[in-house]
Symmetry: none
Subunit: 125 residues, 4 copies
């Protein structure tokens, strides 16, 4: 799993990392029971503070997507996979709603938006 970090983004580091791990889980790159890197190794790998990776793991655990076992490490847990998928899907709808709101204000028509979806969906890597 590759994690890419932008120091210029306004998104906090811990969120950038957490979201990328979540995506990896949703994409199937990470599966139930997989061992995540140790907080220290992970922090070292991607060049952030240990506190930051610990926060990521803490929050993942809180969201039911990981379980920590003292002395063994942190493992992926998919009990909440469906909840995650649902919440993400709702998030997509909410985001789309915002985009449409903005589009309307700036005079973009529905047809232009449809074309945008058409093109961008195909372009996406």
């Amino acid at each position: 799993m590759n994690v890419i970090i932008s120091y210029t983004s306004d998104k906090p580091l811990y969120l950038q990392i957490k979201d990328q791990i979540k995506e990896a889980i949703l994409k199937g790159e990470l599966r139930d029971g997989d061992l995540l890197p140790s907080v220290r190794a992970f922090a070292n790998d991607i060049g952030v503070s240990v506190l930051t990776t610990r926060r990521v793991y803490d929050e993942l655990e809180q969201e039911g997507l990981a379980v920590s076992q003292a002395g063994r490490g942190t493992f992926v847990s998919m009990g909440n996979l469906e909840l995650l998928r649902d919440s993400k899907r709702r998030a997509v709808e909410e985001d789309m709603q915002k985009v449409i709101h903005h589009a309307k204000v700036f005079g973009v028509t529905k047809e232009e938006l449809q074309k945008m979806v058409e093109i961008l969906f195909e372009e996406e890597e």
Copy 2:
């Protein structure tokens, strides 16, 4: 011009206010040369600090959407209207790209997105 403020939103007050003024300009509710409320009166109206409204006006001026004249007031200026419109349109495209990226990760198909646009576009007040 009605400005609505949410104290629970994670969006800073000054940005909420600034964006609503920008929208009013883009919608044509505010026109070139219109006098904006004084920083004090505005702050009093919407219940925020004078410094907050001042910041809004400062930034609007920096973006070329307003001009302030000491002793006279702050006026709408539309020299940059086209630039604003363009940049906003690009922003819509970028936002749409992000939505589509997320959608793909969560298994939403292009057809579902198209339907989403169709429905949400009509629903929007």
Copy 3:
């Protein structure tokens, strides 16, 4: 005498007006004893508040470049012409010093400055 006012300039209105009157005096467009327009007429002409033109006349009087006579009007007075000329000349030197300071910081050479003077001096209307 034509007075041109810029509402977008950061220079205060009263200073813009005063400086233009001073220039007119230095250029010889206004001579000793000439009657200036009444504060009201002048304010009306150039579209500013009466308070503003009054301030202009007050300061001109304070600087010895005008004298007001109750009921008659305000007249140009050149008692201080030499002082004005000298102070203006010193001002030119000070301004030039600032320009040169800036020029050095930005890597403009003495030769480039000389060429600048050469060209701009001829271009000036």
Copy 4:
């Protein structure tokens, strides 16, 4: 980097500070990626309010000369260096034009200006 502040100047504090930082960047004293002092430490050092130094950093960031990262600090960024240099050079030309305009009005000849440049350029510390 030494910052000198004049409380008697009519130039606002935040501008005095900002301009000195800009000069340090243009002179090469500050380089891409350099960490600037924290807003608090800086404010304490030079004896102004934290809000004033914050304003300086805010504006530098808006002008693309610095990037701030919450929890890490504010860093020099030189993406816009050439733009800055160009705009400053144009500013020098505009300033010189004003000086020449004034000079002409007050009867200073081109030759006198040339000599002025000659002398002041050498004198400058």
